[in-house]
């Protein structure tokens, strides 16, 4: 009897193991579940590195994209990135009014034609002063007048110095637009136009459009009708350790972005100590006497790389053609 029992147990255990092994073996493609049963192999393969250090080859169709970062809660977005104090330095000696910053920003945030978060202004302070090109972004002031007047806390100042807008809360009263002395804010007077071509179109399944993306204050997308918007210092890029779109796009290295806590700013190619850069080049801020304490510093247009006239030909066609 005991013999029989033992052998029965053995038989059962072996059968079970065999069954498990078979079950495991049937799943030739460990990603099949995630890709969905109805996904046909496309024939294109990619090489991937497994966690064990093996190189495996797999069909591209079975890959399912996941977002770069887990979605943040509204509270986390309002709090900001800990330990950072973002600052921007704009070197007016290098600006030629190429407008690449403006185009990159408008495209990355899918702004309507005519809406510009970055305005490149031709400035001349007085009759005998030299004219220069001045890119103006949101100053992300430390004493922001826009935040002071917002009745519903839809615009707020974060720990990392960034002033953001929560388009889910904004009631569209436009008091912040009246209060901003730098007139940097724009308003969504109509339903935002979205192009089919979202910036990450290659990674989004064909059906997904920008409008259906989950709204995040940090990406400021998708824009919503009847709410205000402005430059946000691209905190979503900062979380990935990347520079804002304008900084990367400028061919002349005009924009420097960095962290005051680290005392460093970079334009992608060059990195400087922020305090030394400001001291050496005599950096200043716009409308200092209003007491807004902006976080964008300007380096004066001295020893310029290009004459002012070189920028006159770059008229923004996308603005000119807007009715």
């Amino acid at each position: 009897m005991e013999q029989n029992e033992r052998s029965r147990r053995q038989f059962l255990a072996t059968a079970l193991l065999a069954g498990v092994a078979t079950g495991c073996g049937v799943k030739k493609n460990p990603f099949e579940d995630y890709a969905g049963k109805d996904v046909a192999p496309s024939g294109e393969t990619v090489k991937l590195l497994s966690v064990d250090g093996d190189i495996i080859e797999m069909d591209k169709a079975f890959l399912k994209p996941v977002p770069d970062l887990p979605p943040l809660t509204n509270l986390e977005e309002r709090k900001g990135i800990a330990g950072k104090k973002f600052v921007m330095v704009i070197d007016l000696a290098r600006c030629k009014n190429v407008g690449a910053c403006r185009k990159a920003c408008n495209h990355a945030h899918q702004l309507n034609p005519g809406q510009n978060w970055i305005k490149v202004l031709g400035m001349q302070d007085a009759d005998h002063d030299a004219p220069y090109w001045q890119p103006t972004t949101c100053m992300h002031c430390d004493e922001p007048p826009c935040v002071k007047v917002c009745p519903v806390d839809a615009t707020f100042k974060r720990e990392d110095g960034i002033v953001l807008i929560d388009s889910d809360r904004c009631i569209g009263c436009r008091f912040c637009m009246a209060a901003c002395p730098y007139t940097t804010r724009v308003f969504n007077w109509e339903e935002p136009h979205f192009t089919e071509e979202a910036p990450l179109a290659a990674f989004i399944p064909a059906k997904a459009k920008v409008a259906e993306k989950h709204y995040s204050c940090e990406t400021s997308m998708p824009q919503k009708i009847g709410t205000v918007s402005k430059c946000d210092f691209c905190p979503d890029m900062a979380r990935k350790g990347e520079l804002p779109h304008c900084v990367s796009a400028c061919p002349n290295g005009v924009f420097f972005f960095g962290d005051m806590n680290e005392d460093s700013v970079t334009n992608g190619a060059e990195t400087f100590r922020f305090s030394e850069l400001i001291k050496d080049k005599s950096g200043y801020r716009l409308m200092e006497d209003l007491g807004t304490k902006p976080r964008v510093y300007y380096l004066p247009p001295v020893n310029r790389n290009f004459p002012y006239e070189a920028g006159l030909e770059n008229n923004p066609s996308d603005i000119k053609n807007v009715k």
């Binding site: 009745p151 009631i171 008091f175 007139t183 603005i319």
Partner: protein, 436 residues
Amino acid sequence: MKNENLLSEQQITADLLPQKFGRRGKIWTAVLLMIAFAGAFAYYRQLRYGLVVTNMGDYVSWGIYISNFVFFVAISLVGSLITAIFRLADIRWATPLTRIAEIIAVSAIVFAAIIIVVDMGRPERFMNLLLHGRLQSPIIWDVIVITTYFFISLLLLYFPLLPDLKILIGFKEKSSKLLNKLYRFQGSFWRGTPGQFHISDKAISILCITIIPVAFCIHTVTSWLFATTYRPGWDSTNFGAYFVSGAFLVGAGAVIVAMFVFRKAYGLQKYITYIHFDKMGKIVVLLALLYLYFNVNEYLVPAYKMKKPEEAHLTELFSGEFAPVFWFAICVGMVFPIIILLFKNGRRPLPAFIAAVMVVVGAWFKRYLIVTPTLLHPFLPMQNVPDRYHHYFPSISEWAIAMGSLAGVLLIITFFARIYPIIPIHETIAENEAVA
């Protein structure tokens, strides 16, 4: 020695009971309703397509909705002037005007709130003001004081109405069944006993005292919507007093207009007499001179200095694109009415009415001048923007909505006068007996 002009109680009651609309009344109401419906349709379009139906843009982000808002808040201050201040100062001749003033005040403040919601980009998120309201924002202060003022004004309309409701209930054959139901619902508890009068008088006194600081608050806080910003033309310490004095002026003008219209429409010559026009005319002169004084401070002092941001703004007002509107508002809104009303013959009903209409129209354009020109002169230059950004003229939708809101104010006043006696019956009787 009996005063020949003494009227009997029956006479007074017969004269002052609300009358049905005549032909003119019906045409008036029909026109107002059409304008109001046009405004409502324009608002439906705005809800559907967004604020793009207006001619506002990223620079002129506030337009005639906001200037209409300021205008309505200004007019609604008159309630506290005539009702509260005159009552407290025991100025008896103004008693027939108290209800006119109060209904103008209530009606105007209601539409001030409505036009602000119309201006919002996301009106469905109105509750955010209550759920996430930030006490440091001038808009929240405005919401608080305007709501308070509305309720106090409503009570100051209702309490003195109670004795009149009793009279109306007594004359039930003169009103329709529906109106009688309304009167009974609102005032059947009022017996007219000395005890009730004591409570009512005390309540009215307390309300009159509280409404005065609240009235100063509503227009001061509204002025702070502009004065708390840095912009040239708005960044002024003068704004609180400047706005309040302007509000008293336009309110007094509106009362003269209403006096004249009701007097003509309802044959109230015995109750709104030449004396009323004479005295109100003098008050308007005083208020217009006061407002002119504040305007001098507001415009000539910065013009003396011509600071850079203000230079373009002031030049445009004095001699530029806005010069016609500016001088129209100053001359027609202040100077000409002063000249007309300084003379005794100018204070007769018709000339006083004309002067008052000039005051009100001039005031509307003045409020427009406070809001828009400043926005066209930002600190940083407006470059590479569509041509239309450099000018602002309201679109048809905006005009429709703005006129619709004005029509709404007039409709509320018209319907009120149809339902309730526009001159307090009980108080007129009481004063007549006191004179005898």
